[in-house]
């Protein structure tokens, strides 16, 4: 391997002959191992890496920790702000490595700080108050780490007040009489740093509860400790958050898989899922509509500069953006507040569901015969669920049976006080032995089915004062959704 090299833009020179495969573009290359302050080499006989510092002991690191360490060089923004670089001194390197290695088996920032405290690593600084706010939440955690530790919840307002106070003052060291001390109950001088990280906002306060001011070197040390390990802290916070999300999801999963499930529980669970889905879609819509709107605005400005073909392109861009916005709005409508009844155009809803199921129904012929402008009062979310389930069931059955020219026909029959929506396919149909159990919970003939689909749909239909029947049919499967109908007088 050719000798490659990295030069730090603050003229700290790193020499390495390993291709570390780093994406960072602010690192440039230079030569001469003798000039280097830091040398990175492959450790002999091992997969790890040696970090050599002039006048210091060699340090060994795994590749993961090495990359982590080098990424601490990254400036906060691409303009290369001084913050990360200027604190890097030779003496910080071993400390930072130590902390990275220390953090390796910790599952939370609290654990890391506690561990560092217990190992007397933080004795110069004193006890710690860590305030952590997951971005967007109305509360934050305040964790005290000392010989005894405790934790409590504070409001976002208090968190912000402390955060802003620290940020505005631009200092690291705070006198005993400072405002923020009241908010946390600190008596004495303290050291404080605050950060906006990827997924969290973080405040780190250290105090010995003394009235003597901290020495200059300790203040600088604290600053370095926080700045230099900020990335490690951020990663631990994200790790903890991810684990929390995973365990919440697992709890939901476990509840579903447990057999002691009354229909009410299943229904509740389903309701919560719909609600969660609705919320997710809501968030998605807002997250997407902002950038789309930005594109729309910019496009309209740019389009003024063009004429002819180029202007036509801009018009196309406008149409595409409008289409994207419409799709998002339509999906949101399908999943909004389930309990409310709304006027629904049956044909339109059906088409939306076919769009939702596109990946499964692409190659299936659709024959839709619904009276145009047929409207009913019902719940869009629940109807969507029922249509969706019946259509997906057909599609999957026909795929498993390799039905030739698969087709789904949907048509309606309107009576005086009820309406019937027929879902007919030309697939393998329903096996007579399965008929009785069709709508039973947990009954499934699919390898990967939960058996809940039709049971839930039946439940939803009943909630809408309707019912789903399975009819005998020679051509395939036929399901009929029957719903109450107000009659033509209520159309429009």
């Amino acid at each position: 391997m050719e000798n490659s090299y990295l030069q730090h833009s603050k003229k700290k020179i790193i020499y390495t002959n390993i291709d570390l495969d780093l994406k960072e573009s602010f690192l440039t290359f230079t030569a001469n191992i003798d000039e280097a302050d830091l040398i990175i080499q492959q450790a002999p006989d091992s997969k790890e890496y040696l970090l050599k510092l002039k006048g210091e002991k060699d340090l060994t690191l795994s590749k993961e920790n090495l990359i982590h360490f080098l990424s601490i060089y990254q400036p906060e923004d691409t303009k290369g702000s001084a913050s990360s670089f200027s604190f890097w001194t030779k003496s910080q390197v071993p400390k930072a490595i130590h902390i990275i290695q220390h953090a390796h088996d910790k599952s939370s920032l609290k654990d890391l700080i506690q561990s560092l405290h217990d190992h007397n690593y933080l004795r110069d600084f004193g006890d710690f108050y860590i305030l952590i706010q997951t971005k967007g939440e109305a509360t934050a955690r305040q964790v005290f780490i000392g010989s005894k530790s405790n934790e409590k919840v504070v409001s976002a307002e208090v968190f912000n007040e402390i955060f802003n106070h620290i940020k505005k003052s631009k200092q690291v060291s705070f006198a005993s009489s400072t405002d923020k001390n009241h908010l946390i109950n600190i008596a004495g001088t303290s050291l404080a740093k605050c950060y906006r990280l990827q997924t969290h906002n973080l405040i780190l306060i250290a105090t010995k509860n003394e009235f003597i001011p901290y020495a200059e070197e300790i203040i600088e040390d604290y600053n370095n400790f926080c700045e230099y390990n900020k990335l490690t802290f951020s990663l631990l916070l994200e790790k903890e958050y991810l684990n929390y999300l995973k365990s919440s999801l697992n709890k939901v999963q476990e509840t579903v898989e447990s057999n002691d499930f009354s229909m009410e529980d299943k229904d509740n669970f389903h309701q919560k899922r719909i609600q969660l889905l609705g919320e997710l879609l809501n968030t998605l819509r807002h997250e997407l509509s902002n950038p789309l709107f930005g594109l729309q605005l910019t496009n309209s400005i740019v389009s003024e500069e063009f004429s002819g073909e180029d202007k036509e392109l801009c018009d196309q861009i406008q149409l595409s953006i409008e289409k994207a916005l419409k799709i998002i709005n339509n999906f949101l409508w399908l999943y909004n507040d389930s309990e409310e009844l709304q006027t629904i155009e049956v044909e339109q809803l059906l088409k939306e569901v076919f769009t939702l199921t596109k990946s499964s129904t692409k190659s299936i012929k659709k024959d839709i015969k619904i009276a145009e402008e047929l409207k009913i009062q019902s719940s869009p979310a629940w109807l969507t669920q029922i249509f969706f389930n019946l259509i997906i069931n057909s599609a999957q059955a026909m795929e498993r049976a390799h039905t030739v020219s698969p087709e789904i026909r949907v048509y309606t029959k309107v009576g005086n006080d009820k309406i019937q929506i027929y879902f007919q396919d030309n697939g393998p149909g329903i096996n007579p032995s399965n008929e009785d159990n069709l709508f039973s919970p947990f009954y499934t003939t699919k390898d990967t089915g939960t058996g809940l689909g039709l049971a839930i749909c039946q439940n939803l239909a009943q909630k809408l004062n309707g019912i789903i029947r399975c009819a005998k049919n020679d051509n395939g499967a036929l399901f009929i959704l029957e719903l109450p109908y107000e009659g033509p007088a209520h159309r429009g």
Partner: protein, 120 residues
């Protein structure tokens, strides 16, 4: 007219700034709430257009902070809230400040720009 635009979606920010400047306004644009609060402490603005969901704090936090400089009446006249969220709570809160709320995306872009630059 001196306008302060607080919007963190870059394309929206740049476009709205350009569109207002074309109509002769003097526009300062920032992408986060804390910068806006700092600016509001230093300077006076005739119009403040504020997105609600900012990276660091909420648009309402900015309005609260501006109370140091402006009376409730001035706040009601100067601030226009733009937002993609149109929930009941948001509308209620805006009503409490007396501020106009305009939903993103704008259907009539030109009309909205004129509304922005309407003398209070």
């Amino acid at each position: 007219m001196k306008v302060l635009l607080i919007e963190d979606e870059i394309l929206i920010q740049k476009s709205l700034k350009m569109l207002m400047q074309k109509k002769g306004a003097d526009v300062t644009a920032v992408a986060n709430g804390n910068e806006a609060i700092a600016l509001l402490e230093e300077k006076n603005f005739d119009r403040i257009i504020c997105d609600l969901m900012l990276n660091d704090i909420s648009g309402f936090d900015v309005i609260e902070a501006s109370k140091k400089r402006y009376s409730p009446q001035e706040i009601s006249n100067k601030f226009i809230i733009i937002t993609a969220y149109s929930s009941e709570q948001v509308l209620e809160k805006a009503k409490a400040y007396g501020c106009k709320v305009i939903n993103k995306p704008f259907e009539n872009i030109n009309g909205v720009i004129n509304e922005f630059l309407e003398v209070a």
